[in-house]
Symmetry: C2
Subunit: 198 residues, 2 copies
């Protein structure tokens, strides 16, 4: 898929889940008044489309941030999945999704913009590490506008925070990537969002 293509749209029948293979995606929800909120960014190995599996229709839309590929996984035969013993993994998906949402929520509840940015970066670092990739080289394929929206701040604030962190020597900030220099300091700034990853 190319940048801007929809993997699925809110309202579509939710017959499948998707696993990112390459590239990156974002999920967005549009409010009744037309306002958009970026609910998440997804990288290779991560699962998308879980939110729709309960109601039968996707609640959010998934958009490719760059040239990307994803693996479609039909889940229409839910009861039969139980019979063949895939029930636990289904629960795991729901739980993972719920947990990611909870972490994001905790992060958003912090008043300081610095803490939210630091929290997102450390969380992303942990996710990448969990996928077997380098935890210090963070890809940022999303626009500043999208990331700021996701973190509940304006793009100007985000730009300033990143500049501040770079000037402090905690990170190296490229436009489409960030390298963590002092991850410990970032975690401290974020307030240790989550104890550990089991």
């Amino acid at each position: 898929m190319q940048r801007g293509d929809f993997l699925y749209r809110a309202g579509d029948r939710a017959d499948d889940c998707f696993v990112v293979r390459s590239g990156a995606y974002k999920t967005v929800v549009v409010s009744g008044d037309g306002q958009v909120h970026v609910t998440g960014f997804y990288f290779p190995g991560e699962i998308m489309g879980v939110s729709g599996q309960a109601s039968g229709r996707y609640r959010d839309s998934a958009v490719a941030l760059q040239t990307s590929t994803a693996c479609r996984t039909p889940l229409t035969e839910l009861p039969r999945l139980w019979e063949i013993g895939s029930g636990p993994s289904l629960l795991r998906m729901f739980g993972d999704s719920e947990r990611l949402s909870t972490e994001g929520r905790t992060n958003l509840s912090r008043p300081a913009a610095d803490a939210r940015v630091a929290g997102y970066l450390t969380g992303l670092s942990r996710r990448l590490k969990h996928q077997g990739r380098s935890p210090d080289h963070l890809p940022l394929p999303m626009s500043r506008t999208d990331l700021a929206n996701h973190l509940g701040m304006t793009l100007e604030s985000l730009s300033r925070v990143l500049g501040r962190l770079a000037r402090s020597g905690l990170i190296r900030s490229d436009r489409h990537a960030i390298t963590l220099v002092d991850g410990k300091a970032l975690e401290a700034m974020a307030g240790h969002l989550d104890p550990e990853v089991p």
Copy 2:
């Protein structure tokens, strides 16, 4: 259970989900640095403990806000629940849980405190209506501190916002309950978090 009792604790083996029967509960997560975040409030008919089903251990703790009862639901019984026809409703509850989490996240992303409070109130109203209760009489069994924490603001700000809304005639604010007077205006203030309820 009495006020302050734990339904389950973070770290416990997550063998069950719980459905609130009466009263109300809150869920909290403690960060590595000891900071507490209130992740949700749960009323009769709503499901709790989903977050733990991924890792096998609860990620949050559930605390009774008042004298409450809950129905323990071992997930090993899920196939049998399906046989007796309770599978779909449980699945619906899972979906509702995930959706609630997403809505809360969207709500927190708004910068204005008024919008976040209005968003929570309208969301709670819809949840109560969904459970067959009055959508205009909102119970607030939680403390101001907890609600402010949940909404990502200080208790002073919350107090001011509620006072402002009451003075504007949009709500009637008691200490442990709120009556919606002008729900439409509240929804507008919240920015229509979610299009509709299918």
